[in-house]
């Protein structure tokens, strides 16, 4: 597990060179990091995501205007992007509003900046919840076997039989108008729904890994030297199953981000916020929905969030791919 198989001819040579000399041993983590750094696209993706995290945290400092404020007299309705001239002074582009304004005079660029927050949160929180549910269940089912394994796997069968998208819509119409559904403009309900639907995949993956690892000699050896079940799981099985778990986690994030954008676009996701101090005033999905309606008047309301969604999901996909190559030397797809 700790050795990384070379993936390309260039790496082959390097491996031979390093084998010919005695080299200091490297931990799995530093080995994986070396491998990850070689993947240019993954590094670009990671860099972009770090940049986005800064944008999300410092949104109030970066955004030139309040994303919710509607001061139509100054901002103008459908003011064009800064570099587009228009005979009407209320519509002509100005750098006060870099990407122009929408139909009620809100600054598109500021809304875009604040939208970063929802996309990151909506990607990360469900991932953490899914791993927290899926990993223990998979470990327990795989390690204990017997009736517990049967019961837990029946549970995943049940969840699997729910049509995900239809379930989303049903959750939204049944709980969307309750107090719970309104928490954080519907973000909490979205987290819960995404987590309910997606934990089974992780549970099955971890169960499979656990079943395979349980039979390995090193686990046998640890058991023979008197390690209890808890120690076997936390010290021997989980660390060795971590690679696939991390990769699965990295791929959950773009899925969740797309789900938010799609549901909100369909009008069943997040609800708009009119509070001037709201920490999560809008999402890119909402902007796409607005932008589609007003495309003929101001095209950037649609283009900017669309590009933003595409770039963030692309970055996560690159990072997930890089992690898979770095952590799972067997898979070289």
């Amino acid at each position: 597990m700790a050795t990384v198989a070379p993936t390309a001819p260039a790496l082959d040579q390097q491996a031979e060179v390093s084998l010919s000399r005695v080299r200091a041993s490297r931990s799995l983590r530093s080995d994986a990091w070396r491998q990850f750094r070689r993947n240019k696209m993954a590094m670009v993706g990671l860099g972009y995501l770090i940049f986005l995290s800064f944008v999300a945290i410092f949104a109030p400092a970066i955004a030139p205007n309040n994303p919710v404020q509607t001061d139509v007299r100054v901002a103008g309705k459908y003011r064009q992007a800064a570099w587009i001239e228009n005979p009407n002074p209320a519509k002509s582009g100005t750098w006060d509003y870099p990407l122009g304004t929408d139909g009620i005079g809100r600054d598109v660029f500021s809304r875009l900046v604040y939208g970063t927050r929802i996309s990151l949160v909506v990607g990360f929180i469900p991932m953490v919840v899914i791993l927290l549910i899926g990993v223990p269940i998979g470990l327990a089912a795989g390690f204990a076997g017997g009736w517990l394994d049967n019961a837990l796997m029946r549970l995943t069968d049940i969840v699997y039989a729910f049509p995900a998208l239809l379930f989303f819509i049903i959750m939204q119409i049944s709980l969307g108008d309750t107090g719970f559904g309104r928490l954080l403009n519907g973000l909490v309900l979205l987290f819960v729904t995404l987590s309910i639907v997606n934990w089974t995949g992780v549970a099955r993956l971890v169960r499979g890994e656990t079943l395979a690892l349980k039979e390995k000699e090193f686990v046998e050896a640890a058991r023979a030297s008197g390690a209890g079940a808890g120690r076997l799981i936390t010290r021997h099985i989980l660390p060795n199953a971590l690679g696939p778990i991390i990769v699965a986690g990295a791929f959950i994030v773009p899925g969740a981000i797309i789900a938010e954008a799609v549901l909100t676009y369909l009008g069943i996701g997040l609800r708009p916020d009119v509070n001037l101090n709201a920490p999560f005033p809008t999402s890119w999905g909402q902007m796409i929905q607005d932008g589609q309606k007003s495309y003929r008047n101001q095209s950037w309301i649609l283009i900017a969030p669309s590009v933003a969604v595409a770039l963030i999901t692309l970055s996560f996909t690159f990072v997930g791919d890089g992690l898979r190559d770095a952590l799972d030397p067997r898979e070289n797809a």
Binding site: A161, A164, I169, M171, I173, T178, V262, Q292, T313, L314
Partner: protein
């Protein structure tokens, strides 16, 4: 294998019951209720009529009783009445089903015709320019939300580009056919172009990448080398020996993905105003039409379970090393 299938099908019954109970309970928790639609639309219905309608629809019974009644009717093949149209839910679905199958079938066919050659060819020419281009395309295809592609297609081909002859939009933005026009194959095909492009693009990315990976796995195996060594033509080696084995996981994957065609259809149908099942479900959600919501959910859920079984059986059929137990 017959016994295995029967056992799996029997095991599916409690699953379906559980799913239906959960969805039913969730829908009951929804505020408003089906009759709310009459109030919201200001249909001028007075309170007594409303109360009578609620009584008639059985909305005042306790939840478990309503569920029992619903289940009893469904077992007799009756999904109840659609609230707004006052027509049987079964009829509503049968009206829409052909449209969905027509759209999905076309998209499916286009996907297969393109994904298989792309996947095989990029595996044979690994690290070539073509392969790199395919990899780039599959990355973008997998990361970009599918509805976004639909919007862009509408922007380009409906809003921006004009038909040089008529001066109207180059391609229609929605519907199965031009309203009021006589039937013509050309008109039907023109309406298919945008939704099929949107659906197929995502699937092609996904399947061609998958097939490329499984071709690469197979192509370096000994039996392929043997086939080459005994002097078979490259065509025969690739198609008869390598592809056949590489396609097994693809077929399984496709069987597993069958129900997701339906989810994809929902986006496509909403964006392109396509009168199919997905659109029916989406509109019913807005009207709180529980009969339709329950029926479509249960049909899809049964489809998921069946495709799962199908995937396992197809896998066992194609790969003699697998034994079902």
């Amino acid at each position: 294998m017959g016994g295995y299938a029967v056992r799996r099908l029997i095991g599916a019954v409690p699953l379906l019951l559980f799913v239906s109970a959960v969805v039913f309970a969730l829908l009951q928790a929804a505020p408003g209720g089906p009759t709310g639609a009459y109030l919201r639309r200001g249909a001028g219905m007075n309170p007594e009529d409303l109360a009578r309608l609620e009584e008639e629809l059985g909305l005042n019974d306790p939840v478990y009783l309503q569920y029992g009644k619903w289940l009893g009717r469904v077992l007799q093949g009756d999904f109840g009445m659609a609230v707004t149209s006052r027509r049987p839910v079964g009829d509503e679905i049968m009206d829409r089903l052909p449209n969905t199958l027509y759209l999905m079938g076309t998209a499916w066919l286009v996907t297969l015709l393109l994904a298989i050659p792309i996947g095989v060819y990029s595996a044979l020419r690994q690290y070539s320019k073509f392969d790199h281009a395919v990899t780039a395309f599959t990355f973008v295809g997998q990361s970009v939300p599918i509805f976004w592609l639909g919007l862009i297609l509408i922007l380009i081909f409906y809003l921006t580009l004009d038909n040089p002859v008529t001066g109207g939009p180059l391609l229609p933005s929605g519907g199965v056919k031009t309203l009021g026009a006589d039937f013509s194959i050309r008109d039907r095909l023109v309406h298919l172009i945008l939704p099929v492009t949107m659906l197929a693009a995502g699937w092609i990315a996904w399947y061609s990448r998958f097939l490329r990976a499984s071709m690469l796995e197979v192509i370096h195996l000994d039996y392929v080398r043997t086939a080459r060594a005994k002097g078979l033509r490259e065509r025969a080696v690739v198609l008869r020996h390598a592809f056949r084995n590489a396609a097994i996981p693809l077929v399984t994957l496709m069987a597993l993905d069958l129900p997701y065609l339906f989810s994809g259809a929902l986006f496509a149908e909403v964006i392109f105003s396509w009168p199919g099942m997905g659109r029916l479900f989406f509109d019913a959600a807005g009207r709180r039409d529980y009969g339709i919501l329950m029926a479509v959910t249960m049909i899809t859920s049964a489809l998921i379970i069946l495709s799962n079984l199908l995937a396992d059986m197809v896998y066992a059929l194609l790969d003699p090393r697998i034994r079902l137990s």
